[in-house]
């Protein structure tokens, strides 16, 4: 029996490995997710066949049903744009679950009047600690991403000192606990401190950095599961948890690189709280009317759309696609240039444009467009800001200096759609909007584009 369960666990681990591998390639990603789901099913079923299932079946079935119902409803209801925060919330639940698993095992040992061995105590503490940090950190990240807790980083004097003290306290209690495993109070204090650490650790980090934070916390929740696996000596927990821990960590690093930030830089936080230096932009913004834009677009032969966070806010993807179609019928070559960190989560623009059925061939990467940008007649910037900021190329004092950008400023004419003089995620001014060849179309992106579409339809 034990053997069959373990073979099933090995099978589950293989499914997870293949699943992660396939998730990394666009063609196989969806299948990969299903493969890994099958692995999970195998692991759950294998766990159910042994054990005191008959004594506890109400508990088990009840727990599974309640959890599955909540999870399924939440996943079905959520809007496309709300997905990142939902993932953060789920991740927090996973962390809390690992905390409870560690705690339950500790309580079981204690209630049998035993004391766990030092190693067991250490992994229990680790599971609980990482799980706790993951939980509050993820919930806070969820709050920020969904706008419930406000996006900008919250800084207070002595913040780093305070967080440092939290870490020190956790380590202290940890050592104490490992040498005196029966001290329930110390254990609980450790739990409380780790919950606090998750909360205060995420506090100084701006809303735009949340995807990185969520990815890191995702890695943590894997490690928490792995630690829980050591607690109950369960191999599939150790393997799957560690796979997630390692791949999550490397994914976090990859995401940081795409934004030209380091992980430390993100975690120390405060980015976007203060408007950092950089020259002031010269010139003034020149507003254009829909009419102007219509005439220019009418005669354009080569058009690129540069979507950004504003397109997501305005939910303008469908009308953008409509305008794109009209321009194509009108004989222009139309492309959509997607910057890897446009929007607020990686792949944000891809997901939105895919939702609007933009063909795969029309989605191009910036590296493919930049060299020939000067042959583009019109670049239409839809709520993008930082990702088209030329300061990243030229101004060494700019906080985004060195980030690769879409060189929209090299197009013959640039139309920038935004509501006003609002700044982007990084909080810095963008000289592009003040250039000779740039015209502003103020207003909500969706409305502006709809008006353009209407104009085309009339004529």
């Amino acid at each position: 029996m034990e053997t069959i369960i373990n073979i099933a666990y090995i099978a589950a681990a293989i499914f997870f490995i293949y699943g992660i591998k396939m998730l990394g390639r666009p063609e196989t990603a969806r299948q990969g997710n299903r493969v890994s789901a099958v692995g999970m099913l195998i692991a759950v079923v294998a766990t159910l066949i042994n054990q005191h299932i008959f004594d506890s079946w109400i508990w088990v079935v009840g727990g599974l049903l309640i959890g599955a119902a909540i999870g399924a409803v939440a996943a079905q209801r959520v809007q496309m744009t709300g997905m990142p925060e939902l993932v953060a919330l789920f991740n927090g639940f996973g962390g809390l679950a690992s905390l409870f698993v560690g705690w339950a095992e500790y309580d079981r040992i204690i209630s049998e009047s035993l004391a766990p061995a030092a190693f067991t105590a250490a992994v229990i503490y680790l599971a609980v600690l990482i799980g706790g940090v993951t939980f509050t950190g993820s919930v806070y990240a969820w709050g920020k991403l969904s706008g419930k807790l406000g996006g900008p980083p919250i800084l207070f004097p002595g913040q780093r000192l305070f967080n440092g003290a939290l870490v020190a306290g956790i380590v202290l209690f940890g050592v104490w606990f490992v040498f005196n495993p029966p001290l329930y109070l110390i254990f609980l204090l450790g739990v409380v401190l780790s919950l606090l650490l998750g909360f205060f650790g995420v506090m100084p980090i701006g809303g735009g950095d949340m995807p990185v934070v969520v990815s890191l916390l995702n890695s943590f929740s894997g490690l928490a599961a792995s630690a829980a696996g050591f607690v109950i000596e369960n191999n599939v927990l150790v393997v799957a948890g560690c796979l997630v821990g390692a791949s999550g960590l490397i994914l976090t690093v990859i995401m940081c690189k795409a934004m030209n930030r380091t992980l430390t830089n993100v975690l120390l936080g405060g980015f976007g709280a203060t408007v950092s230096g950089g020259q002031q932009a010269e010139g003034e913004m020149k507003a254009a009317t829909i009419d102007d834009a219509y005439f220019v677009l009418e005669s354009a032969r080569n058009v690129v759309f540069v979507p950004g966070y504003g397109m997501a806010v305005a939910q303008a993807q469908h009308v953008v696609k409509e305008l794109g179609n009209i321009l194509e019928e009108n004989g222009a070559e139309v492309r959509y240039v997607v910057h890897p960190v446009a929007g607020r989560m990686p792949g944000h623009m891809n997901v939105l444009l895919a939702e609007a059925d933009v063909a795969y061939e029309q989605l191009v990467e910036m590296g493919d467009v930049n060299p020939t940008m000067n042959q583009v007649d019109v670049a239409i910037i839809i709520g993008a800001n930082d990702v088209v900021n030329p300061a990243a190329l030229t101004d060494e004092s700019s906080p985004i200096y060195g980030m690769p950008i879409i060189k929209a400023h090299e197009a013959r004419t640039v139309y920038a759609l935004k509501r006003g003089r609002g700044r982007g995620f990084s909080g810095i001014e963008n000289a592009l909007f003040f250039r000779e060849n740039t015209r502003m179309l103020f207003g909500d992106a969706k409305q502006t584009i709809s008006q353009l579409v209407a104009h085309f339809k009339e004529n």
Binding site: A43, A225, E233, V238, S247
Partner: protein, 94 residues
């Protein structure tokens, strides 16, 4: 020996995790994060064991139940939401 082997398993899984995720295109970052988040719900196995192990209504059993509900939300929700995300990507390749 069991513990040592578990550590061995941990180390190998860590290396494997690193190797598997090299050079993922940026558009897949979010689904990948979400998909591996669902896998981290594997703690559901631990929750099941904790829920089933005791017979009386001890604290540890209630903790297990809570863990079970939370982990199940993570697993079921995580896989479904990832699938929805990836469905979007799929469509555009037709």
């Amino acid at each position: 020996m069991t513990l040592i082997l578990l550590i061995f398993v941990f180390v190998l899984a860590a290396f494997l995790g690193f190797e598997l995720i090299s050079k993922v295109p940026s558009q897949l970052h979010t689904p990948l994060m979400s998909g591996s988040n669902a896998i981290s719900g594997i703690t559901i196995v631990g929750a099941l064991i904790a829920t089933m192990v005791d017979e009386s209504g001890t604290l540890s059993k209630y903790l297990g139940l809570a863990a079970l509900i939370l982990a199940t939300i993570n697993v079921v929700g995580g896989y479904l939401v990832t699938d929805r995300m990836l469905a979007m990507f799929k469509r555009k390749e037709k």
